[in-house]
Amino acid sequence: MKYVLYQLKRHPLAIIAILVILGWIFLAFAGPSLLSYTYTEMDSTFQMAPPGVNNHLLGTDALGRDILSRIIVGSRSILTVALFTSILSTILGIILGFSAGYFGKAFDTLFLRSMDILMSIPPLVLSMVVLGILGDSTIASLTLIVSIAFIPATARVSRGVLLSEKSQEYVQAARIRGESHVYIMFAEILPNTVGPIIVEATARFAYSIMMVASLGFLGVGLQPPTPDWGMMVIENRPIIADAPWTVLFPALAIASLVIAISIFSDFISKVLIHER
């Protein structure tokens, strides 16, 4: 704990980043009750109102809906999906990557071949086509599909860290003791590889936000009336010349969250790996 505080003092940017992330989490939980408008309410006298008019802090869109409340309600879905995605893709990656690295031989070759195939379709194209074909995305389908698209990345990292631990003496010892393969992989090796895996998972969180926002932007994310940051950008794109705030504020919301998480994950990797 002391070590973490010491590192925080050396990286003031990381403190700002953590505050931004906590701020978004707070707004996602408590935000809607603090607002004077709901996210579906249409203020018919103030359509495309600039920021500040009639208590609309960030203005309204073409239907007179409050931009601020739509951004705050939208933060809930993107944080949920991105969090679940980074957790699920990391877990699936550990299971697949560990088994491939541990058992080796034909299983490993099969694993590497299938990862090559999965990687040969760009992740965004893959998720977009699958979600587009299935139609009507839900939080569950979005999480699952994006996680699958991320598996090559997470599984390769897990396989790599397992291979570097596999020849250690404590693994040999456990094998001689006659422990089961599952026990050796997850009770012996996993605790020793937690550092790099956490680093990968936090970086994955930033990519998940990027991906989920982009899918929402492409119209295959969560369906209306759920407000989605990416969707807000493309919805209001035609009126960008007359009401730039309708597009700019959701974009800045994504930017602030993504940049904060990137800085945070960079900090985590410095603390856990490089500067130990």
């Binding site: 940017l13 090559d116 195939i117 990687m119 040969s120 379709i121 760009p122 992740p123 965004l124 194209v125 977009m128 086509v129 699958v130 587009g132 074909i133 299935l134 139609g135 930033a206 990519y207 936000i209 990027m210 926002a213 982009s214 932007f217 492409l218 119209g219 295959v220 990416g230 950008v233 493309i234 794109r237 960008i240 010349a241 730039p244 597009v247 700019l248 974009a251 800045l252 994504i254 930017a255 993504v258 940049i259 998480i261 990137s262 800085i263 960079d266």
Partner: protein, 322 residues
Amino acid sequence: MNSYLSTVFSKVGSLLATLLVISLIIFSLVELMPGDVAQMILGQSATEESLRELRQARGLNDPFFTRYGRWITGVLRGDLGDSIYMQGVPISSILWRKVGHSLFLALTAFIIFVPVSIVLGVIAGVKEKKAADSIISFTGLATMALPEFVSGVILISIFAVRLKWLPIVSVIPIGQTLFQNLDILILPALSITFVMFGYVSRMQRSSMIIVMNSDYIKAARLKGLPERYIIFRHALRNALLPTITIIGMNMGWLFGGLIVVETLFGFPGMGSLLMTAIKTRDVPLIEACVLLITVIFALSTMTTDLLYGYLNPRIRFKGGQR
């Protein structure tokens, strides 16, 4: 050099195998799509009789592998089928022009981000832990996971809405070509640049730091060679290799980015075509677009692989041995 050629052949072979599997996956994915192709062509008012006739005529009742075989042999002959949404227009007549547009956009982005990221990455690496490094590293970190439409929206607000220097949308007026409207390329290309800058400059920085601390650079310094000469003649050659790999690995993001950017700017490329295909549930067009994106992606990955092997003498001269 012979062993290098045999690597080339084995790579081409595994590329073809991968593409065959991928084509099967794409074809079966689209099978999952709800809805009936015959119904989509004839519309809601079609009679049961005409639907049955059309299904028979298009072979929609044939078993899965018969239909896959017919599709893939057609693709190999260059016949990508007809678009459903655009009333039976042959796909190859629209696709190639759009692919050309997209490749040109990607090339423009490439010409911007590759030199900029490499130069700034080298500066950051050489001036490690100084002010220049902090600024470049922070910018790289900030833009690395920034979705292309976010950087695009910010660029539009500044350069198109406020300053009015560049067009707000990137559409080509009817009857004109892309080359008569080159200004529409600038903002989309810059939007893609941001993400790629993050990856490439950070990679270049860290490989530069490793190389600059290596023994042979220390030896060159002790010989009294000028610093500029050391950086450009000795260090950069080795420090570029990991960067080439990272550019190749991130081609996938670049293609995803193209779709997002083309949708944002309304640019008539293959990404916005795929978007339209998905929205209108145009089965043959989705298949053709995804297959083509995969082929181009695979070719570019293979090219960077081979380029890496060619530039790295350790691989070039003993390519066969592992």
